[in-house]
Structure formats: structure tokens, C-alpha cells
């Protein structure tokens, strides 16, 4: 393969070299790289990427080796006795001997393609570069009593590509916690492809907490069958560039989804939550709440889209995005979108952006709270609405503690 990329940036040239160096690239991987070569690293001239320009963030840098892993500290979620899977710089480490009845997981061949994501440049790159995928299945009717913890740990400034495939069986229930940790890779990309079968219940919690220099992209594409429930709560402290995408497709009737996210950003941290919920069948409901807090030069990006096809009557879809800006140089970019082709639906979105309320601050200080305490209490209350959406108390406590620690660092 020669000269796939025309006038590549230093980083794109390094990606090309890394792909060429792959000893086990098959035809589907080559086809995926061809797609990437046509799409290139996304930049601000592409509508969906105008606030999160990966090409610009990566242009000046080059991946440095394969990355070296440090000793891995215990996860704050360890207290929940999870089944812990580590994906370190893309390498999967799963406890093969810890598989409760009704759960099956293992390392498998990477996905050759994901048809609905072939138009996605970073997914194309991921499919071209990823050799192994982590697969997990919860069998029909099984409700797991332990959460699955998938830790994406990236260290050392190299390239990191990973994939997971999840299958929640008919009437099954599972909680998956995903953490994005470590100083970060030059570019980390993770693709999760999943299905929640009829009446299945899936609860996904994401804590994205990497180093300030990291550039990472993660996407989950979930197919939701009839009567299934998908719940997701994400908290991100951002990175040099961090984007979490969620794609939900209601393939069956009467599905339900809750998609909440919060960003706590300081320094030059950037966090992007981009979601697309596609309603293909009638009677599905989605609730979405985003809270972005940006201090210093932090930048909180939210792009939410509800697309309701003609057949999807009685859709009930509500989206709310609120930003709290704590400095003059902080930024929030919201793009709520409704695209509706059905006529009997209830869809709404709201978006606000503001500073801390001076009157509330004065009230709290009159009662004896210092300025710092008063600000922290109001910020915590603002972001807390997302954390409060987590039903399980121990899980909620870990997220609340992370918010409190972030506030503690803001002095």
C-alpha cells in the first residue's frame, strides 16, 4: 500500500505507518483504512466536528511508541465487587476464570465493519487498526448481581485502539461501568457495538478522567429492541480533546432510554458529548439531561439529536442541556436538534447557559459560607442533578465523590 493519504499531516502519516506495519491486516481492515483515507481526521469544517477538531488537536503531535503501562491502581469502583476487565493501551486483560453463570465473555476477532458507522472517520480508523475485540454476552433472563467494570487505561503517548461487543439477552439485565483513565494516549479510540434484546435492561456508567494532554474518542452504538431499557450516566473531566458519542437506535416498540452527562472542565480541558437517538418504532421514550461546567478556558460541547421516523408515532423525547460558565474565557457550545417525521409525538428540547447566580451566592454567604464554599455548593448542586439520576447508591457515591474532589481542586 502506498500513498493512501494525500498530503497527510505528521500525525496522519504516523497513522498510515502504523497501519502499514500491522502484520495481521486483512481485507476488511484495508477497506476500513481506505474509508478513513477518504474521510481523514475530522476537522472543524465538517458540521458535526466544528467544535471538536481532531485534526487540529493532533496535527502538531506524533504518537510516541506503543505506550508503556504503569502499575495500575485499584479502581474507585472496586468496592462494588465488579468483574473487572482492563484494556490497557488497547490490550485486553480479562479474568477468564471469573465468569458467573449466565455471563460469557472473552477476547475475539475485531469487527470487520459496522455498517451504520461506515461514514464515521474515527470508527473507520478504529476498524482498520484494531486486531482484537472484547465480547460479552448476558444470557436470556439473567440479571447480573455484580457490575462489569471495563477500565480503558491509556499511558505513554502512543496509539490505542479498542473495541467491545456487548449483547444483553432477552429479559436480561446488566450494569457496565466504563472508566477512561491514565495520562492518555496520543490518540485513543474505543468503539462499543451492542444490542439490548427484547425487555433487556442495560445500565451504562462512564467516568472519563484522563490526563490533560490526552486525545480520546469513544463511541457506543446500541440497538434497542422492543421494551428494552437503556440508561446511561457519563461524567467527564475532559482532556486536550475528549469526545464521547452515543448512538441509540430504537428498533422495537416501547423502548426507554435515559442519557445523562456532566462535564467538569478546568484549565484547557475539552469535553464533547454527542448523541443521536433514532426512533424507528412507535412508543419509545427518551430523557436526556446534560450539565456542562467550565472554568478557566474549559470548553463543554453538547450535540444532541433526536430523529423520529415516520413510523415512530407516540414518541416521547425530552432533551435538556445546561451550561455553567465560571470564567470569562470558558466556553459552552450546544447544538440540540430535533428531526421529526411523525406527527403524533411529544418532543422538546431546552438549552441554557449562564454564570453562578449572584443572588444565590450572597444568600449562602450571608448564612456563613465562604465564597469558596458557596460556589462549590452551587456547582455541586448544578452537576449533582446528573449524579442524582444514578439509582444504585454505591455507584452514585463514587460519582459524587469525583465531583467533590474536582471541586476541592478548584481553589
Amino acid at each position: 500500500m502506498t500513498e493512501l493519504l494525500k498530503n497527510p499531516s505528521a500525525f496522519e502519516a504516523a497513522l498510515e505507518n502504523a497501519f502499514t506495519a500491522r502484520s495481521n491486516a486483512n481485507e476488511t481492515a484495508e477497506a476500513a483504512f481506505d474509508r478513513f483515507a477518504a474521510q481523514r481526521l475530522p476537522n472543524r469544517r465538517i458540521e458535526g466536528w466544528k467544535w471538536s477538531d481532531f485534526n487540529a488537536a493532533l496535527r502538531a503531535s506524533a504518537p510516541d511508541g506503543a505506550g508503556t503501562a504503569k502499575a495500575i491502581a485499584p479502581s474507585p469502583f472496586a468496592a462494588l465487587n465488579p468483574i473487572e476487565i482492563q484494556i490497557v493501551n488497547g490490550r485486553i486483560n480479562a479474568p477468564m476464570d471469573d465468569q458467573p453463570k449466565g455471563l460469557r465473555f472473552g477476547v475475539m476477532e475485531a469487527m470487520g465493519t459496522i455498517p451504520e458507522l461506515e461514514i464515521h472517520p474515527i470508527v473507520s480508523l478504529n476498524v482498520a487498526m484494531t486486531a482484537k475485540s472484547f465480547g460479552l454476552e448476558v444470557k436470556e433472563g439473567v440479571a447480573l448481581d455484580r457490575p462489569i467494570l471495563i477500565r480503558h487505561i491509556d499511558e505513554g503517548g502512543g496509539l490505542s485502539f479498542g473495541q467491545t461487543m456487548l449483547r444483553i439477552g432477552v429479559g436480561a439485565a446488566a450494569t457496565v461501568i466504563e472508566t477512561y483513565e491514565g495520562a492518555g494516549a496520543a490518540l485513543a479510540s474505543h468503539v462499543c457495538h451492542m444490542v439490548v434484546r427484547d425487555r433487556g435492561r442495560f445500565n451504562r456508567l462512564v467516568l472519563s478522567d484522563t490526563g490533560a494532554g490526552a486525545v480520546n474518542h469513544a463511541i457506543v452504538a446500541a440497538k434497542l429492541e422492543a421494551g428494552s431499557v437503556y440508561e446511561q450516566t457519563s461524567l467527564s473531566t475532559g482532556a486536550k480533546l475528549s469526545r464521547h458519542e452515543t448512538l441509540l437506535h430504537f428498533w422495537g416498540e416501547d423502548g426507554e432510554a435515559r442519557v445523562d452527562s456532566a462535564a467538569l472542565l478546568t484549565g484547557e480541558a475539552h469535553a464533547d458529548f454527542t448523541t443521536h437517538v433514532l426512533h424507528k418504532k412507535p412508543g419509545c421514550a427518551v430523557r436526556q439531561l446534560h450539565k456542562g461546567v467550565a472554568a478557566d478556558r474549559g470548553r463543554a460541547v453538547f450535540q444532541g439529536k433526536f430523529e423520529v421516523e415516520r413510523a415512530a408515532q407516540k414518541t416521547d423525547a425530552q432533551m435538556t442541556a445546561n451550561a455553567l460558565l465560571l470564567s470569562d474565557r470558558a466556553e459552552a457550545n450546544h447544538k440540540p436538534e430535533l428531526e421529526i417525521y411523525a406527527d403524533d409525538v411529544e418532543c422538546a428540547h431546552g438549552s441554557t447557559c449562564g454564570a453562578l447566580d449572584d443572588a444565590a451566592l450572597f444568600y449562602l454567604r450571608q448564612r456563613g459560607l465562604s465564597e469558596r464554599q458557596a460556589r462549590a455548593l452551587l456547582i455541586e448542586a448544578f452537576a449533582g442533578e446528573v449524579v442524582d439520576g444514578i439509582e444504585e447508591e454505591k455507584l452514585r457515591a463514587v460519582f459524587a465523590a469525583r465531583v467533590a474532589a474536582w471541586l476541592e481542586d478548584q481553589s
Binding site: 449572584d358 450572597f362 449562602l364 450571608q366 448564612r367 456563613g368 459560607l369 465564597e371 455541586e380 448544578f382
Partner: protein, 248 residues
């Protein structure tokens, strides 16, 4: 106890208080009455230290300590409490948690021990009963979805919990029915002793039926234009503020 001397306060460049002087000795309750726009709320905010209520000249002391250079929380720690005319709703802030945090912040600033969780819960329930706020209300986010009257009850709950040395009550009576006025009287009267002082700001005489003032001052045009005994409130109720507006 609270001494205000020749206080000038500007808000957004406009002078609202124009040389206000007033003294409330320890153990006394003074009422400040005045028409709309006379500067009553400006007075309460300036004493409590709200940003943008800038004292351009004059002095305010509490127990001999100068307040004007202090932050609002430092003033609170000295024992100054303001019952707000329009109390805030603060979504996401749990009421009991907030009140306890605030009590402990004040205690810490004064070098005192924190209140124990058990003592706090016992007292907040007892005082909640006194002001007419049940447990369910105390567990809600602060004032969220509360009626105007309930918000005033929440102010009185905090007055009872903080037991300040000096309390300013900014139109606490507005929006309250007779039973609630009685409750406000009970809370204030239970705290009245020779070490504490109160400044009751109001339009109307009726609250003063429940909180008997030692002195009444008329605020008009940014100054105290007349001071007298409790009978002055009755005179105002009968003849209105007209004469004082002209005098100012």
C-alpha cells in the same frame, strides 16, 4: 450594639442611602418603616455586605466591630443574620445539609466546635415544628416549590437555628397570614434577651402587634426622618408616609 453612622450607599452609581444614622442598643428591637423606594432593602443589603451595595461614606459597627470591610460570611460569623424579603430557591441543595453546613461554617469561624449530627437533627425538627415546616419539607431541595409563606417560614427556621446576636428582618411580614405572623412573633420573642438586637423593616404596623418594638424609625429619601416610640407606628398607619416623603 448595631450602630450606623452617616451611611451613604450607592447602587449602580445612584445614591440610595444619603447619610443614614441609627443605633439599636443590645436588648432592643427597633422597627424601620418607610414607603416603597425609600431604601429599606438597600439598608439591609448594605449592612449584610451584598456586592454592588457600596458604602461610599459612613460606618456600620456591630458590638463595636466595624462591618463594612468584612465579607458577608465574616459578618455572619460575627452574629449578623438577614431574613430576606425574597428568599432564594436553590435547586439541588438539600435543606438540612445546607443549614448544618452554614451553622458549622459560622462555628468554625468563631473557633467553636461543630454541632453534632444528632443534636442538629433533634433541634432542626423541633424548630421546624415551631415554624410549621414538617420533615418532608426539610428534606426537599432548599425552598424549591415552596410558597411565599413557606419561604418566610424557612427564614424563621434559620433565625431560630442560628440564634444570631443581631437579626435584620426585611419585610418578613409580607405575604404572611395572621397565624404565620404570630409564629414570627414567637420565634423573635423567644430569642429576645439583653444580649441580642433586632431591626424589623416593614411597611405595616401589623407585625409590630406581635413584635413590640422599643423604637420606631421612619426611613424616607435615604435618611431616617423621624424616630419615636411604638406609638409612631400607629400614627403612620393612620396618616401614611406622605408628610415624611415631603420632609425628605
Amino acid at each position: 450594639m448595631l450602630a450606623i453612622d452617616n451611611l451613604h450607599v450607592a447602587v449602580g452609581g445612584a445614591e440610595i442611602l444619603k447619610g443614614l444614622s441609627l443605633e439599636v442598643p443590645a436588648g432592643e428591637v427597633h422597627a424601620v418603616m418607610g414607603p416603597n423606594g425609600s431604601g429599606k432593602s438597600t439598608l439591609s443589603y448594605a449592612i449584610a455586605g451584598r456586592d454592588d451595595y457600596e458604602a461610599t461614606t459612613g460606618e456600620v459597627t456591630l458590638g463595636g466591630e466595624s462591618l463594612l470591610d468584612l465579607d458577608p460570611d465574616e459578618r455572619a460569623a460575627l452574629g449578623l443574620f438577614l431574613s430576606f424579603q425574597h428568599p432564594m430557591e436553590i435547586p439541588g441543595v438539600q435543606t438540612m445539609n445546607f443549614i448544618r453546613t452554614a451553622i458549622n461554617a459560622q462555628r468554625k469561624a468563631r473557633g467553636e466546635d461543630e454541632i453534632s449530627a444528632a443534636d442538629f437533627i433533634r433541634e432542626v425538627r423541633e424548630k421546624g415544628k415551631l415554624v410549621g415546616l414538617d420533615d418532608a419539607k426539610l428534606k426537599r431541595p432548599f425552598n424549591v416549590g415552596f410558597s411565599g409563606g413557606e419561604k418566610k417560614r424557612m427564614e424563621m427556621l434559620q433565625l431560630a437555628m442560628f440564634k444570631p446576636r443581631f437579626a435584620i428582618m426585611d419585610e418578613t411580614d409580607s405575604g404572611l397570614d395572621i397565624d404565620a405572623l404570630k409564629m414570627v412573633g414567637e420565634v423573635v420573642n423567644s430569642l429576645r434577651d439583653e444580649t441580642r438586637g433586632f431591626l424589623v423593616i416593614t411597611h405595616y404596623q401589623r407585625l409590630l402587634d406581635y413584635i413590640k418594638p422599643d423604637a420606631v424609625h421612619v426611613l424616607a429619601g435615604g435618611r431616617i426622618v423621624k424616630s419615636g416610640g411604638p406609638e409612631l407606628a400607629k400614627t403612620l398607619e393612620e396618616s401614611g408616609y406622605e408628610q415624611f416623603i415631603e420632609a425628605a
